[in-house]
C-alpha cells in the first residue's frame, strides 16, 4: 500500500496520534514514554497539529485534565509509564466508570522499587481490574495501527470506554523500525468524528460522577462489567475493518504454528516475536511446538482462547510480572481460571521472566520448553511458577 518509513516507534506513535486530529493531549514526561509526548508537544508548538497540549504538574493531573476534556466532548489522548501510571491510579478507575473514551499509550516499565526504568508488565497489571480496554502490541507497526483502532473503539457509542495500548518500553519505544504510514484519507475514513454519548454542556446540563448509595452501586458495577464484556464484538469489528483498509489482520487471540502443536508458548507484547524464533528452531528439530499470543487482555477473550488451545496438551505461560504471595504471574492465574472448568484441560507451567528489561533470548525459551516437558504432569516436580534465570 504505502511506502514504509524508517522511524523510531515513539515518533511514529505520536504521528499517528496527530493523524487522528486529536483535540487535547495532557501528559507528563516519564521514561520510556518521553519521546511520544515530546514529539506531540513539538507538533502542537510548530502548528502542525491544531490541539491543546496541556503540560501538567503530575500524572494525576494529566488524567484529570483528560477526564474534563473527554467529558466536554473532545478527542483526548495521554501517555505514561510505570510510576506515572501509579500516580494516575485513582483517576484511572474513574475514567472507566464514567465511560469516557480516552486513549492512553502505556510504554510498559517496571514499578519501583528497586527503582528501574526498564521494561516489564508490572505497571499495567496494577490496573488490570480498572475497567479499561487493554490491548498489547508486538512491534512498531502494530503500535501505529492501534492508535487509530483505539480511538475508533473507545469512541464507538456502543462501547464508550477508555483504551490502553501497551507497548514494551525501550524494546519498542526506542527502536527504529520500518513502519507503513496510513494515508490521511484512510484514517479519516476508518475513524469517524467523535460523537460523545453525553457531554458537559450548559445548554443541556447533566451530572457526571455523582455518588451512589449502597442501593445502586452494585447495579452500577454490573452495568460497567457488561459494557466491557460487550465491547468485544465492536473490537473485533474494528480489527476486521482495519484489515480491509491496510491488509493487516488482528484478532483477540493470535496463533503461530498451532497445527499439531502439543505445547504452546503464551505471551503478550513484544516477546511474541522472540518466541516465534524459538518455535521455528524447535519445529526444525521436529518438536510439536506452537505459539499463542493474547492481544486483547481486557475484556479477556475467553471463548477465543479456549478455542485456540483446545487441542493443546501443555501451555508455557510467560509472565512479565509477579503476584507476590500468590501463585505466579497474573497471566497464568487468568489462564488457569479460564481453563479450570474445561474437560481435557492442558497442563500449565508458568515462567516469570524478562523483569525490568532482563533479556530473554530464543535459547532461553527453548530451555523453558525442555524444562516444562520435565515438569508438567509430574506432581513431584510441578511448581506453581518458576522465576526463570534467578540466581540461587
Amino acid at each position: 500500500m504505502n511506502k514504509k518509513v524508517g522511524i523510531e516507534v515513539s515518533l511514529a506513535a505520536a504521528d499517528a496520534v496527530k493523524m487522528t486530529n486529536v483535540d487535547l493531549i495532557a501528559a507528563y514526561p516519564i521514561t520510556p514514554q518521553t519521546h511520544i509526548v515530546e514529539h506531540l508537544s513539538e507538533l502542537v508548538a510548530n502548528g502542525e497539529l491544531d490541539a491543546e497540549f496541556i503540560p501538567v504538574e503530575s500524572e494525576h493531573s494529566a488524567l484529570s485534565v483528560c477526564i474534563g476534556s473527554s467529558a466536554a466532548g473532545a478527542r483526548t489522548f495521554t501517555c505514561t509509564s510505570s510510576q506515572g501510571l501509579a500516580l494516575m491510579n485513582e483517576i484511572i478507575f474513574i475514567a472507566a466508570s464514567l465511560r469516557l473514551p480516552i486513549v492512553l499509550i502505556l510504554a510498559n516499565r517496571s514499578l519501583s522499587g528497586p527503582l528501574s526504568i526498564w521494561n516489564d508488565h508490572t505497571d499495567v497489571m496494577s490496573i488490570r481490574d480498572s475497567g479499561w480496554i487493554q490491548v498489547f502490541t508486538e512491534n512498531g507497526q502494530e503500535v501505529f495501527d492501534h492508535v487509530f483502532f483505539a480511538f475508533r473503539v473507545a469512541e464507538d457509542p456502543k462501547v464508550s470506554l477508555p483504551v490502553i495500548i501497551n507497548l514494551d518500553g525501550f524494546i519498542l519505544t526506542h527502536v527504529i523500525e520500518p513502519i507503513e504510514y496510513w494515508d490521511q484519507e484512510a484514517v479519516d475514513k476508518y475513524l469517524p468524528d467523535f460523537k460523545p454519548v453525553s457531554t458537559l454542556n450548559p445548554d443541556s446540563p447533566v451530572t457526571m460522577g455523582a455518588f451512589a448509595m449502597p442501593g445502586i452501586y452494585t447495579e452500577a458495577k454490573k452495568a460497567q462489567d457488561e459494557a466491557l464484556i460487550k465491547s468485544k464484538p465492536e473490537i473485533i469489528k474494528a480489527w476486521k475493518e482495519m484489515g480491509k483498509v491496510v491488509g493487516r489482520h488482528y484478532s483477540p487471540v493470535e496463533t503461530n504454528q498451532i497445527e499439531g502443536a502439543e505445547t504452546v508458548f503464551l505471551t503478550m507484547g513484544s516477546m511474541g516475536e522472540t518466541v516465534s524464533l524459538a518455535v521455528d528452531k524447535l519445529r526444525a528439530q521436529g518438536q510439536p511446538v506452537g505459539q499463542v499470543k493474547i492481544r486483547l487482555w481486557r475484556p479477556f477473550p475467553v471463548e477465543e482462547f479456549r478455542k485456540a488451545v483446545r487441542n493443546v496438551k501443555r501451555i508455557i505461560v510467560i509472565d512479565r510480572a509477579l503476584s507476590f504471595g500468590g501463585q505466579g504471574g497474573p497471566v497464568a492465574g487468568e489462564i488457569r481460571s479460564v481453563l479450570y472448568n474445561e474437560e481435557n484441560k492442558p497442563l500449565i507451567t508458568n515462567f516469570i521472566c524478562g523483569l525490568a528489561g532482563r533479556d530473554v533470548t530464543p535459547e532461553h525459551f527453548i530451555d523453558m520448553y525442555e524444562k516444562s516437558l520435565k515438569m508438567a504432569g509430574d506432581k513431584s516436580k510441578e511448581e506453581d511458577y518458576v522465576m526463570y534465570g534467578v540466581r540461587e
Binding site: S97, L98, R99, L100, S160, V197, S198, P205, V206, T207, M208, A210, A212, M213, G215, I216, E219, A220, K222, A223, E226, A227
Partner: protein, 97 residues
C-alpha cells in the same frame, strides 16, 4: 431521579451513570441525617436573620411573622445556627421518634 434507586435495574442506568435530569438534588431528604433539631425561643429572637445567613444547607426559612424556622426536610441538625445566634435563642432538642 423520579424513581427510588431501589426500583432501578442495572439496565436502567445511563452510560457512565450520568444523571441527565438536572436539579434532582432537591429530592434528597438530608433531614434523615438529623438526631437533634433546632428550636427557636421567640421571646429572645430579635429576627436578625444571622441563623438564616449561616445555615450551610439553606434549610432555614423566614416565617410570615419575620421569625425563623428550620425546613426539616433538609435540616441535618448540624447546630451551626445555635453557634452563630446573637442572642442564644436557638437550642438543639432531641428528635422525637
Amino acid at each position: 431521579m423520579v424513581r427510588s434507586e431501589e426500583d432501578l435495574k442495572w439496565k436502567d442506568l445511563e452510560t457512565g451513570c450520568v444523571v441527565s435530569d438536572a436539579g434532582n438534588a432537591s429530592q434528597y431528604r438530608t433531614g434523615d441525617w438529623r438526631s437533634l433539631q433546632p428550636v427557636w425561643d421567640k421571646t429572645k429572637c430579635i429576627r436578625c436573620g444571622v441563623c438564616f445567613l449561616f445555615c450551610p444547607d439553606a434549610a432555614i426559612r423566614k416565617t410570615s411573622e419575620g421569625y425563623f424556622e428550620a425546613d426539616l426536610y433538609y435540616c441535618k441538625g448540624c447546630g451551626i445556627c445555635v453557634q452563630e445566634c446573637v442572642t442564644g435563642c436557638i437550642t438543639m432538642v432531641e428528635e422525637e421518634e
